[in-house]
Structures are given as structure tokens and as C-alpha cells.
């Protein structure tokens, strides 16, 4: 239901952990939004100046126009479906649930309430380096994308082995569904969908029931290949996405995350230079762009506000994007049943302090 | 690492005042000073640069070493180091409060680096020339429990502190050390060469004390380093009568080679140059080229960090390190 343009959007946040707080802070900086309440079972909301609900149904009954659902993965679908069925617009954190079935159920709810906007938090598409890269690829000046290659990894983190993100029933998987999913989403941004999926999943170090490393190969009907390494044993935090085209390449390294541990966000672009016979020469001249600020959170929320206020379809992070990327995740998990922890991992794991 | 962590600014300023008083007492008459050739290359030609606290600094025309000339003779210098109030304050008022910070920030990493770089020397006799409190040998002993650690330290007070830590001590200057030829696998001399009347004497003596294949590892000030060059006579490192010699990577390598060493590494791993210059601009209103004031005011932390790394990488930090092998 479209809102009148002069009214602010009343928003609630379900799940006030790390992501909930990021979203809340961002709402506070935007004029279009008014936070009317939060829901958190662990009282993270203590000290907030808005009502704090223990049950999400309480928050949904308090009359929000939209909710941001920032709970652990397993809870996401039921909250989303409840909100959608009440005609409330929903912004749902990634991943969209634990399984592809979760996405299908959410999409059914969405289909039954056509006026409701449902958007998922694939935030990386809003990073300036990614947007610049997309504009360059779309211009066609460098030709067709041949292949893309991504590395996304972190060192796990404090108490990583005890984190709910590594309990399959709560999260649906390991580092791939938690972090690697962003890279899969970017692969789709540059190559659309993939039909063939190969993967190796390992538990190389952490004593967890899910993968701590995923090595993935994807191919689509146009012959474009994508290669992903998603890792929770990348001791030096790393984000790198390379896009190679017929007449040049792009490489995004570092990403301005909230922790700033992935390095300065940088886009390198080069156009092939050719020798006298027309063969490409190695190491062409590069243009390197450094980004100073991360406005991805604001842009993402602004986009969501525009969809609501102008009754426009969700174009980035809509439920079909969610469906496609979760379908990839599911295929990757199916392609390589996770084996036992590797012997080396057993040793280093035991040595962990 | 930040300058303030290893050098309390107030204590340092107080110390500098004591030094000025001691200069009047210990070196009252510059007529007694002796004219010396370049302490690095022995050349006689030099250019006057500036005077500070009554000491004239000149630059060697052959190797660019900056040095005090004429300079106090070796004997009064030794007297000054062993007995002056400023030397006492250096120990009690200045060094002791930051000793643990220095252990952590300087000596431990230094010991780790050496242990990692020269593992073959782990069971040899190691001598630290001018061992002071013995912090370095203590840290190295943890990593090399089978090495024999010897402090070479002329100050009775410091020697006692080293002994209290169960470190063997030769209570003398290395120049006066007799009868230990070809005994050592590794000799270290941290921040020492800049103080000496004759750095060459130390390097030549070290050569004799080392066994063939043994290593000399020394750190000293690089007169071509960033903060010294930018601040020049305003630099607190240019500090008579303590800092008499400012060699540079080429001059230091030349000195060691002429004593018979094969130089394996000369580097400038310093981390503090930028911090020192920025501090001098902010606290002492030092005059510098415009660009450094711009960087101090507008540069991001990352920018300053990268600049420091660039200085170190290209031999432009004022903290210099040499590793040389006796063939």
C-alpha cells in the first residue's frame, strides 16, 4: 500500500544484534524513516528510546509500515511471512533463510500480497567499487565477460566455533552461506545465472559441523565460468573479485566493511593494449580508484524507501535474486557432501588455545 | 609503535636540560677538542653544517657522514658517560619508567627477529656490546636457551644489574677487551656507534673477537634518515655530546667492509620518523618544508603509515641496521 509522500515510514527492527544495530543507526540518519520499536529476546535493546518488544508479533501489531528482520537465519522466514501477511513491507537480512524451501515459502507469501515490498540485504551490490565496475561492464567497452573469480575470507573470529552461524539448524550452513553468499550474488550481478555447479567443501581447521572453506566452480550456458573461494581460515582478511573481459579486466580488492579489516576499497581497471599484430600485451596500464567512504548502507535503505514511497518493484535484492542465489548455495552444498574434518585440521584445532 | 610509548616527552626534555648543564661541567673548553677525520671513511675534507650546544657538526665530503668535529677526546667522554648527572638521570628517570615498554616494543621483537634470521647461531657465544640493563640478552636467552650470553658493559652499575639477572658480564669497553679473539658467534651493538669517539675501533675489534663466519649486528642513526634530514639542527637526535656520528647506509657498509667484513644487509627498519617530525611540528613548532606541515595537518592515519613504510623500504628511515659476516 503506497504511503503518502509527506509521511515518514514507520519502521521496526526484529533482532537487535550487530546487524540490527547497523540498520537502526542507518535509519536514524535518513529523513524518510522513523523507528517506532524493536524486538529482541535477549534485551539488546536496553537503553533504546523506542519501545522494546520481547515478541515480534507485538512489534508487528504496533503499526509499523516496514520491518527490518535481522534475526538468526532460522527465524527469518517465519517473521518475514508473518509481516508480509499483515501487509507490512519487509527488509530481510541475508541469507534469505536456511534453505531454498525457506525462500520459496517467503515468495509464496509475497505473491499473496502483491502490494508488499520484500527486499533482501545483499548489501555488496551497493558498494561504490561494485557499482563503478557494473557500469563499466554494462557499457560493453571491454567486451563480454569471460570469467569472474572471487575470494572472500575471514579468520573466523572470536569464539567462531561457538557462533550460531556454525550450527546448521540455525544457519543452514557455514562460511559459504554466511559470507560467500555475497560473492555469489556479485557473480550473478556480472554473469546472471549459472547452470553447472562443482564444489569442494572442507572443514580444515575449526571444530564445527559445517564447512569452514568452500571451493566453488560455476558455469552458465554462455560459457562464462565463475570461481569462488569462501574461507573462514583466511587469517589475513581478504575480499577480491576479478572480472575478466575480452578487452580488459576489472579487479575489486578490499571492501569498506563496518570493521574496516578487508583493506581499502579499490577498483583497478585496465584495457588491453595490443602489439603490432593485434595480440594483447601483458600488464596493460591500469587506472586505480580508491574509495574513501562507505555509503552502501544508506543507499540500500534509500532504495527500499523509494520502492515503498513510489510503489516501485524491488530491483536489487528482490525475492527472485534471493531465490537464485539460494538455489546456487543449495546446489553447492549438494555437489559435495561435507566429509570428515581433515587430519591436519584435527591437529591444529586441538592446539588451539 | 609511537614515539611517546618508548620516550616520555617530559622526562626526555628534563634529561636534555641536564645534558646541557653537564656539557658546561665536563667539556668546559672546546679548545681541548681534537680534530678528527671522518669516523666512517677516514676522509679529511668536510663541510661545516651547524653548531649545537657548542659542538660543531660537519659533513664528510666523501661519504656524507655527519659528525662532531673537533670532538672531545675519548677519556673525558668516558668520564661523562660513567658519572655525569645526566647519565644517571637517563638510567633512573628516563629509561627505567619505560623499560618494560621498551622490552616489549623494542628488545623482544629485536630478539625474535635475530633468532629467526640467524638460527645457526643458537648455540654459540653471543656478546652484546654496551648491554645496559641486559634486556636484549634476557629476551634472546628465552629463544636461545643453549647459547652463552655475555654482556660487555663498562658501567659498574649496569654490569651489576646484568649480573643480578644471571648474565655473564665482561666489565669493560669492547675496545679494551683483551684475550677473547675469535670467541664469539654473534656480536651485537645497538645504538652505540653514534656515541663513540672512534666507531672504526669498535668495528675492527669486533672483527677480531668474532670467529670466522661470525656476525656483527649493529643499529645506529642514519644521518640521511627522514626525521634527521627534515629537522636537521632542530632534531633531538642531533644531540651532543652523545650523538657524535651519523653515518648512512653507504658509509656504514663502507666502514664494515674496510674492516674486513662482508656486508649481508643494510636496512632502515625504523618506524618513528614520521611520528617524530609530526611531533616536532606540533609540540616544538619546528620549521619544515611546507609539504610536511600539509601532511601533518591533512594526512590520514593510513597515509602517514604508508609514508613511513615507504621511507623504511627505501633506506630513508633514520634508524639503521647492519648485519655483517666475518669471512
Amino acid at each position: 500500500m503506497p504511503l503518502s509522500r509527506d509521511r515518514r515510514i514507520k519502521a521496526g527492527i526484529v533482532g537487535y544484534g550487530r546487524m540490527g544495530k547497523i540498520r537502526g543507526a542507518c535509519l536514524g540518519r535518513r529523513n524518510e524513516w522513523e523507528l517506532i520499536g524493536i524486538c529482541d529476546i535477549q534485551n539488546h535493546g536496553m537503553g533504546c528510546d523506542v519501545p522494546v518488544f520481547r515478541e515480534w508479533s507485538g512489534l508487528l501489531s504496533a503499526g509499523p509500515d516496514a520491518v527490518f528482520v535481522c534475526t538468526p537465519n532460522r527465524r527469518l522466514p517465519e517473521v518475514v511471512m508473518d509481516a508480509v501477511s499483515r501487509g507490512i513491507h519487509v527488509f530481510c537480512e541475508k541469507p534469505p533463510g536456511c534453505t531454498l524451501e525457506d525462500v520459496i515459502r517467503m515468495r509464496e507469501a509475497e505473491a499473496a500480497h502483491p502490494g508488499v515490498k520484500l527486499k533482501f540485504g545483499f548489501n555488496h551490490r551497493y558498494h561504490a567499487a561494485v557499482q563503478d565496475a557494473k557500469a563499466i561492464v554494462d557499457s560493453g567497452r571491454l567486451g563480454r565477460v569471460m570469467w569472474v573469480r572471487g575470494i572472500y575470507g575471514k579468520a573466523g573470529g572470536s569464539r567462531y566455533d561457538q557462533n550460531w552461524r556454525n550450527r546448521r539448524e540455525l544457519s543452514g550452513g557455514g562460511i559459504l552461506i554466511d559470507q560467500g553468499i555475497h560473492m555469489l550474488d556479485l557473480f550473478r550481478l556480472f554473469c546472471d545465472d549459472f547452470e553447472e555447479v562443482k564444489s569442494f567443501l572442507t572443514r580444515s581447521y575449526w571444530t564445527v559441523e559445517v564447512e569452514d572453506n568452500a571451493f566453488v566452480l560455476l558455469r552458465n550456458s554462455r560459457g562464462q565460468v565463475a570461481m569462488l573461494h569462501s574461507s573462514a581460515t583466511q587469517w589475513q582478511h581478504r575480499f577480491m573479485a576479478e572480472i575478466y573481459l575480452e578487452r580488459g579486466y576489472l579487479a575489486i580488492t578490499g571492501i569498506l566493511s563496518s570493521t574496516r579489516t578487508y583493506g581499502r576499497e579499490t577498483l583497478r581497471v585496465a584495457r588491453c593494449q595490443y602489439d603490432a599484430e593485434g595480440y594483447p600485451q601483458p600488464n596493460p596500464e591500469e587506472t586505480i580508484t580508491y574509495y574513501d567512504e562507505d555509503r552502501s548502507w544508506e543507499q540500500e535503505i534509500d532504495d527500499f524507501a523509494r520502492s515503498i514511497l513510489e510503489d516501485r518493484p524491488v530491483t536489487v535484492g528482490g525475492s527472485s535474486d534471493a531465490y537464485q542465489v539460494m538455489s546456487l548455495v543449495q546446489q553447492i552444498y549438494t555437489a559435495d557432501p561435507l566429509g570428515p574434518r581433515s587430519a591436519a585440521g584435527e591437529l591444529t584445532g586441538a592446539a588451539m588455545p | 609503535m609511537k614515539e611517546q610509548e618508548i620516550r616520555n616527552r617530559e622526562a626526555f626534555v628534563h634529561y636534555l636540560r641536564l645534558v646541557r648543564e653537564d656539557i658546561a661541567n665536563y667539556f668546559p673548553d672546546s679548545e681541548q677538542f681534537r680534530t678528527a677525520p671522518c669516523p666512517a671513511c677516514g676522509a679529511l675534507e668536510h663541510t661545516a653544517e651547524f653548531a649545537k650546544a657548542g659542538f660543531e657538526y660537519v659533513a664528510c665530503r666523501a661519504c656524507s657522514t655527519l659528525f662532531v668535529n673537533p670532538r672531545p677526546a675519548a677519556a673525558p667522554l668516558r668520564e661523562f658517560y660513567l658519572r655525569s648527572p645526566s647519565s644517571r638521570y637517563w638510567v633512573e628517570g628516563f629509561f627505567l619508567p619505560v623499560a618494560e615498554a621498551r622490552r616489549e616494543k623494542i628488545f623482544r621483537p629485536r630478539a625474535r627477529q635475530i633468532a629467526g634470521q640467524l638460527p645457526a647461531l643458537a648455540r654459540e657465544t653471543i656478546g652484546d656490546i654496551g648491554a645496559g640493563f641486559g634486556l636484549f640478552l634476557e629476551e634472546l636467552r628465552i629463544l636461545w636457551p643453549h647459547a652463552r650470553m655475555i654482556a660487555i658493559e663498562p658501567s659498574a652499575e649496569m654490569a651489576a644489574i646484568c649480573r643480578s639477572k644471571a648474565i655473564e658480564v665482561l666489565e669493560t669497553t669492547v675496545e679494551d677487551l683483551e684475550g677473547q679473539e675469535s670467541r664469539f658467534g654473534l656480536l651485537t651493538a645497538f645504538e652505540l656507534l653514534e656515541h663513540l669517539y672512534q666507531p672504526r675501533a669498535l668495528v675492527e675489534k669486533a672483527w677480531r673477537l668474532l670467529r670466522p663466519g661470525g656476525r656483527l649486528l649493529a643499529t645506529t642513526l642514519n644521518g640521511q634518515g627522514f626525521d634527521i634530514q627534515v629537522l636537521w639542527e632542530q632534531s633531538k637526535s642531533v644531540f651532543p655530546p652523545h650523538h657524535l656520528n651519523f653515518l648512512n647506509p653507504r658509509a656504514l657498509a663502507g666502514l664494515c667492509e674496510s674492516a674486513g667484513f662482508v656486508v649481508e644487509e643494510v636496512s632502515t627498519p625504523g618506524q618513528l620518523d614520521w611520528d617524530i617530525v609530526e611531533g616536532a611540528i606540533a609540540n616544538d613548532s619546528a620549521t619544515t618544508d611546507r609539504i610536511w606541515r600539509l601532511l601533518a595537518r591533512n594526512g590520514s592515519e593510513r597515509c602517514k603509515r604508508e609514508f613511513q613504510a615507504w621511507l623504511s623500504r627505501h633506506g630513508l628511515s633514520s634508524h639503521m641496521r647492519i648485519l655483517a659476516r666475518k669471512p
Partner: protein
């Protein structure tokens, strides 16, 4: 905001070859001295004191160069010639200028290929990428006070922009030493609020009133239109180190050297949102090296003398890239959107 670094092989000797460049500079110096000491007769050649357009204050005298007094704004550190001739006098002078003719007829011809390769080609690529990113439907590109007609032709030949015009406020065209084809000529009034991409290549440093030009830029841009600007900055390495000894400091072409701070605020005040502010210059380190080598008596800078004598090409190269990365090169480029 973002900052761009360029890695390529631009060499100063290619675009400013000696002895031709020295000859050009000698003519320039002579003309500059005569305009500032009043011995060139043009109408309205009166020199007027000039306040910092960013801060509104009178700048403080710092050094003299070729007869012109360079002053520094105590607040924003911009370098400004004051007193200075008005725009009319400058335009009148340029039409007569012997240096201008030498540039057109001799110098530009001799360096054409190098400039094509080292400057115009990257500039064209840059404009195309701006179009891709910020104005995919851009149709009107206007180049204000064009200096290089060949670049305009290249822009047209790209086939990417339906309308490419040169905007010249100082008509009549016939009097200009500028070979712009008639169909590309326009006056500012024709394009008010119509320009999708407005380019000011090396303009704001050489106009008498840069604040006015930025104001006009806003009037020319269509809503959401993009301003593209290059200039020379006093915050850059070359000018920070060399000041009045900077070899390319020609008072008539570089009357305003804004600091990065000042430039950011001026463009903001004119009603633009800055999308990119970079200093992708590639020549600062080489220029300083050359200057120090040719002038051993230049005071200070002993750190840099040692650096150039001993540190080698890799260190110089990484320094230039560091300068680019942290907006410390003297050559500035800006992309901004009209708000």
C-alpha cells in the same frame, strides 16, 4: 568521494621537449613580465588586487615570478596572483600573444603525437567512463574555453556524444587563435541549463575570476549534469616543494593554484556534489628531480637531494603513486554533479 591513480608511461620529455620548451618559456616569460609591468598596451590592463575566492581575504605576498606577485591565502593555503589583470585584458592579450601563436604553430605541432597518446587519449577514455557511470544518456558535451580543437574532434569522432560544442565567452570567434570548426562553436547563453557534461580543462587556474566561472558552470549544467574539471593545485608535491621555482609556473596560465581544501569547498559552494577528486598527475617527482639537478643552489630540500641521488627509479615510481593515492600530486581532476 573517490580518488583515482593512473599507471602509465607519460614522460615529461615527450610533452615538453627541449629545447623547444625552453624557447616557448622564454617567450612566455618576456610577455608575462611586460603585462605585469604595464609595458604591453591593451585596454583595461589595470591590475587589481585579488582576494581569495574561497575565503574572501586578501592573500599574503610569497614570491615573485616573471613579474607577477604570487600570494598565499593564510586560511586555505591557495596560491593566487595578486594584483592581476581582468578577464577582458587577459583575453585581449591572448589574442595578440606571441607565446600563444608559438604554442599553436610550433609547439603543439611538434608534440601533437605525444599529447595525443599521453593526454588526449586517456582524457577521452575518462570522459567515456564518466558517461558510462554518471550520464549514460548524456547528449550535450560542452568544453568551456577550449584549448585543444583536436581533442574536440576526437570527442566527436568517438560517436558517443550527439552534440559536442566549444563554449567561448570571448567571441568573436574569428579573432581567436583557435581552429574550432564553425558548427562546434557556441556562446554560453545558448547552453544555459542544457549541458549534460561540462568540461573545464585547465580553465580555473587561468581565468581572472574563477569563482565566477564555477558559478557560470552551474548555470550551464542541466539538472543532474556533470562538471568535469582539471587544474593545478598548490597542495601538490611540485608546488609544495618548489614554490616559485616550479619550472612550469607561468603566471598567465596559472594565476590560481587552489589547495585541495579550497577547491573542494569552492566546487561545493557553487552547487555541485563532488563524485571524484583525484590527483592523477604522473610528473611531480620527475619535475622536482629535474629542477634539483639543474639548480644545485635551491635552498633546503636536502632530504630530496639525497633521495634523488641514491634511491633509484623504483622509489621514485612508488613515491609518485603514493602522491596520487593521497591527493598530493599537483595535477587535479574532479567530477561533480550539479545538485
Amino acid at each position: 568521494m573517490k580518488a583515482v591513480v593512473l599507471r602509465d608511461d607519460l614522460r615529461e620529455a615527450d610533452i615538453r621537449p627541449e629545447p623547444l620548451y625552453a624557447e616557448y618559456k622564454a617567450i612566455l616569460e618576456n610577455e608575462s613580465r611586460r603585462i605585469f609591468d604595464g609595458s604591453i598596451r591593451i585596454e583595461n590592463r589595470e591590475l587589481l588586487p585579488f582576494d581569495c575566492p574561497n575565503c574572501g581575504k586578501a592573500p599574503v605576498a610569497e614570491f615573485e615570478r616573471w613579474g607577477a606577485q604570487y600570494c598565499r591565502c593564510a586560511t586555505c593555503a591557495s596560491l593566487l596572483v595578486s594584483p592581476r589583470p581582468g578577464q577582458e585584458a587577459l583575453d585581449a592579450f591572448r589574442r595578440e600573444s606571441r607565446a600563444g601563436r608559438f604554442w599553436e604553430q610550433t609547439f603543439a605541432a611538434a608534440t601533437g603525437a605525444a599529447r595525443e597518446h599521453g593526454i588526449f587519449r586517456p582524457r577521452l577514455q575518462w570522459l567515456l567512463s564518466i558517461k558510462d557511470r554518471y550520464g549514460p544518456r548524456a547528449s550535450v558535451v560542452a568544453d568551456y574555453r577550449s584549448k585543444y580543437p583536436t581533442f574536440l574532434e576526437a570527442l566527436c569522432d568517438s560517436g558517443e556524444f550527439p552534440q559536442v560544442v566549444s563554449l567561448q565567452p570571448e567571441a568573436p570567434w574569428e579573432k581567436l587563435p583557435l581552429a574550432v570548426r564553425p558548427e562546434r562553436r557556441a556562446g554560453p547563453e545558448a547552453l544555459l541549463h542544457r549541458t549534460d557534461i561540462l568540461t573545464l580543462f585547465e580553465v580555473i587556474e587561468r581565468v581572472s575570476n574563477p569563482g565566477e566561472v564555477l558559478h557560470l558552470a552551474r548555470e550551464l549544467c542541466a539538472p543532474g549534469g556533470v562538471l568535469v574539471l582539471t587544474t593545478t593545485s598548490s597542495s601538490g608535491f611540485e608546488y609544495q616543494l618548489l614554490g616559485g621555482s616550479a619550472p612550469n609556473l607561468n603566471p598567465l596560465d596559472r594565476m590560481n593554484l587552489f589547495s585541495i581544501d579550497a577547491l573542494t569547498r569552492l566546487i561545493g559552494k557553487a552547487g555541485f556534489e563532488i563524485l571524484e577528486l583525484s590527483t592523477p598527475g604522473r610528473l611531480d617527482v620527475a619535475t622536482v628531480r629535474k629542477t634539483l639537478e639543474s639548480d644545485p643552489d635551491l635552498p633546503g630540500l636536502s632530504f630530496w637531494r639525497y633521495f634523488f641521488r641514491h634511491c633509484g627509479e623504483d622509489a621514485e615510481h612508488t613515491l609518485q603513486e603514493f602522491l596520487q593515492q593521497y591527493r598530493l600530486s599537483s595535477h587535479v581532476r574532479v567530477v561533480a554533479r550539479r545538485q
